[in-house]
Symmetry: C2
Amino acid sequence: MNDEYELLLLENQVCFPTYAVANKILRRYQPLLKKINLTYTQYITMMVLWEKEEVNEKDLVKALYLKANTLTNMLRKLEQKGYIEIGRDENDKRNIIISLTDEGRYLKEKAINVPKALADEHWLTDEEFKTYKSLLYKLLKGDW
Amino acid sequence: MNDEYELLLLENQVCFPTYAVANKILRRYQPLLKKINLTYTQYITMMVLWEKEEVNEKDLVKALYLKANTLTNMLRKLEQKGYIEIGRDENDKRNIIISLTDEGRYLKEKAINVPKALADEHWLTDEEFKTYKSLLYKLLKGDW
DNA sequence: ACAAATTATGTCGCGCGCGATATAATATAC
DNA sequence: GTATATTATATCGCGCGCGACATAATTTGT
C-alpha cells in the first residue's frame, strides 16, 4: 500500500549519494588546491589547458560539462592570477579563445602534487575504480 | 618521462566525473523540484523528516553528509514555507530539534511524483545501478 | 564550586552553478 | 541588401557548501 513511498527514502535515490560523494571529494581536494592557489573549477580548467594549450570557451563548456555563465567569472580570476590569457577569435568575434601563459604552464609542475598526494589513498580497489569511472561516464554521456 | 603528467588528465581523475554527474543530476531534478517549491537540499532534508518525523540538527548533518552551517539558513527557509518547526531540546538547549508540520507531512503526497517521474528514465540497468550505488556508499563511508 | 575544555550552533565572506534574460556578432532567408 | 534567426557570451539574482571564526550551553577536572 505504501510501497511507492519507498521511492522517497534517501537510500533509494541516485542523486543523494552522488551529490554527497562529490562534496566529500571536493572537501578532500580543497586544502591541496589551496597550496597551488587554485579553486576546484580553476583546477579542472587548467587541466584542459595543460593538455591542449588553447581552447575556445564553447569547447571548454563541453569539456567540463558546465554552463558558459559559470565560467565567465572564473576565467577572469584565472586571468588575474596570470595563468591564462583571454582573447577573441579574429575570424568570429563571438568566440572567446583561452590560452596558457608561461606562468600557467609552469604551474603544472606544482599541480602534479595534487593527484600524487591522493594516489596513495586507496578509496577503492583498482577494479572498483575502473567500474566506478565507467558508470560515471555512462551517466555523463547518457541522453537524459 | 612525462608519465606522471598523465595523472593530470581529466579522464584520470575521480573528482571530475563525480562532480560533473552530480551537477547533471541536479539540473535534471531542479525543474521537478520547482513544481513542489523545494530546492534540492530542502528535498533531501524533507526526505529524512518524512522517514523519521523528527531529528536534531546534529543527526541531520550526519545523515546528509553536509556541514552544520550549510543547514542553518536552509532550515529557516523550510520553516518559513511552513513545512517544519525548529525548536530547542529542553534537556540540552544547545540542540536544535526539527519536526514535521502537517503541511510538511502533506507535501509528501506531491513529492512522490519526483522519483516517480524519473523512474522511467533508465540511465543505467538495474544491475549497474546497484553496483553504482554500492560504490558510492563505499566512498561515502570510507575514512579519508 | 568554578576554570577550562568540549559541544552544538551561528555569522561571515567567498566561489561556484544555474535559469532567466540581455546583448553583440554572424548566418540565413527572401 | 536587409529583416530575421541563430550563436556565443555576459549580467543578474539566488541558493548552496564550505572554512574560519564567534558564541552560548554543557561537561570535565580538580
